[in-house]
Amino acid sequence: MNSSVIIFPGSNCDRDMDVALKKFGFKNQMVWHDDQNIPKSDIIVLPGGFSYGDYLRCGSIASKSKIIKSVIEFANSGGLILGICNGFQILTETGLLPGILQQNKYLNFICKNVFVKVNDKNNKYFKNIKKDILELHIAHNEGNYFCSNEELKSLEDNNQIAVTYCNKMGLENDENNPNGAIKNIAGIFNKNKNVLGMMPHPERMVDAHLSGEDGSLFFENLLENLK
């Protein structure tokens, strides 16, 4: 399986993602934002970081970069696009995903492990995944997901809410909501479920000795689903 990770000026999780994808058998290529063409890929990843120093709004400048036209065409033709953290912010700014990631409710940069519940398995990302609750890492200042009531209803009606913050038993409430996101939303799909944006970093949980292995479950499962 071929994957491409797009690098923007200020991306900083691109190499972690490269390591994770290769560890589980993807043939990964790094693509610079100023290029126009993306090599043949089964999945494109927009990594975490602080593209363009988060100027104007997180992800807003990156969402207008040269490569994005190809990313949008790839998404519209059904290709898989995974946006993690800043990648999620870029996807909302391109309009591929609805809503926006606002500043965290309590104005703090949050860097910790959290639990998220997998809400929908009828898609290439989570189909057959062995656990319903994953322990993943978050590190962000703008992860407070917000959208209009109409958009929220549409997300719920189409099962587009991918993952939600919870405790290790799966309880979703304010106490287990790190950033104030509406309905504890940690990640969402587009309507066709080929585009996934989420704040948690699965690529930081791929080593039992260093962190945890729930990210490994995610990547192994993804690769299996793409075969």
């Binding site: 104007l56 807003s60 207008k64 926006i100 606002q102 500043q103 104005l107």
Partner: protein, 77 residues
Amino acid sequence: MKIKVIVTLKNGVLDPQGKAIQQTLNGMNFDNVNEIRQGKFFEINLNENDEGKAKSKVEDMCKKLLANLVIEDYKII
């Protein structure tokens, strides 16, 4: 020609920074501050002499980049 734009959060959208500033001012004994909404201000210098045309270009910029209409409103002044 210089066009100025103010981008603010829409009514009803939580503004934690504005709230923190308000609480700080209250703490500094500015007791009569009820609410603060923080926004952004842009000064755009355009190579255009017709005010109507300039404003219409800036409006396009606001919709496409300067403001995110999910949570923000813009005002061209």
